[in-house]
Assembly symmetry: C2
Homo-oligomer: 264 residues x 2
Amino acid sequence: MGEFEFDAATRLAGDGPEFGADLDGTWGGQPGLNGGYMLAVCTRALASVLPFPDPVVVSGFYLRPGSAGPARVTTEVIRAGKTTAFGQAALWRDGKETLRATAAFTDLAQPPARTSGRSFSGGAAPELPPPEECFAFEPGAARGVPIAGHFDYRLTAAPGWLRRQPSGNPRYEFWMRFRDGREPDLMSLPLFVDAAPPAALELGVLSTTVELTVHLRARPAPGWLACRTWTKYVAGGYHEEDFEAWDSAGTLVAQSRQLALVLG
Amino acid sequence: MGEFEFDAATRLAGDGPEFGADLDGTWGGQPGLNGGYMLAVCTRALASVLPFPDPVVVSGFYLRPGSAGPARVTTEVIRAGKTTAFGQAALWRDGKETLRATAAFTDLAQPPARTSGRSFSGGAAPELPPPEECFAFEPGAARGVPIAGHFDYRLTAAPGWLRRQPSGNPRYEFWMRFRDGREPDLMSLPLFVDAAPPAALELGVLSTTVELTVHLRARPAPGWLACRTWTKYVAGGYHEEDFEAWDSAGTLVAQSRQLALVLG
């Protein structure tokens, strides 16, 4: 049918407020099912029940490790205001709640004229060589992390962790897109921000997400996303991880931060 | 009775799962009641119903402007695991939900021995002159923003917005503490991170919080907090605001980000 992998993996059954989903193990990370994938499933469910099309902020709390198989998504419309609506979704597997997500939606095509002209940028998109001149993972390099097979990542050089020589600098800049040609959109950004190799790998740190907040700043233009991910503070058994994604027009489209629990 | 202002303003009635609160207008910002104050009330309610003492991450969605007066806080224990518990709180005024907050709690005094030794810092506390050598607001400078009266802020120089000359650089570094001598703790950090003048004032931008996420990284030592707040991207009617707070021992104790809607 030509359905893209991401759309098939986040397809929902039902008209709401409760939905069925079939969580696909090929979107697995290490360990468990990828947190961004599960957050994207919840975001899609909320898009079905809220009166505005565009998520502007989504926050998910990871209650248990995720696993593949049939799942349920329950939703609640918290408040539908004139320009912003708030909703909550819960993802259930085997009768156990796995993820609790809350979101605000609006219509980004109708920003308030009076204020949307305000703009400032204290940062910029990563400066990267063209994707075709970058390092790409060999097929199979992501063995054990099936989700990597869905994406094309292009880095300026092979990351240290891949050569078993973590650099000590937990920061990556890279291109990223779906391997099957699906263009990025607001529904897929909660997945993108959690689907690249974690920067903390350059410290030899493995971790699992406790909470992930994604700000969705603009509808992405088609093409590669220029991405930057970094960790500044590892302490007391936790670290944060930040992520920025810029579209092919040079617009910041997503900004996210997660709190991760160090596993080893 | 010698009760500190913050403790009086976040005192809860009842044993849960539902609590009464009396929201105090002196914790008002511009516009409405301060978002961090309301988040602190919800965090305190969650501390009463969850089996661990320390919030590690709290996320709040602001559904309506907050106002002073009698309020209700409803809570839900989402999941209480072996080392982490998750809960949700809703703050109600006049029968209307104003704030929906979700949090993860743990015991920071009992970090997993195997992993808590991992540490990395890619940042540092602000380097500031001693508080007594810094600029302090004159009494009355915060007219119209009553919450400022509860805090002592010390900046290296008077901020541009105060002289009606926004600098164009949305970034502040400063000392901060409660004026009445109450020491900072994990319960008050969700307030601190939202209770300083917003960095976007240096762009002449006024805004209101849509969502605020706070990572609580360590129990603060007594004394001044060294703080840093900044905004990197204003676009499409929204901006993010980041905040870091470091305690007197030089430990990062809070890291937060909010998404704010530009008002003018």
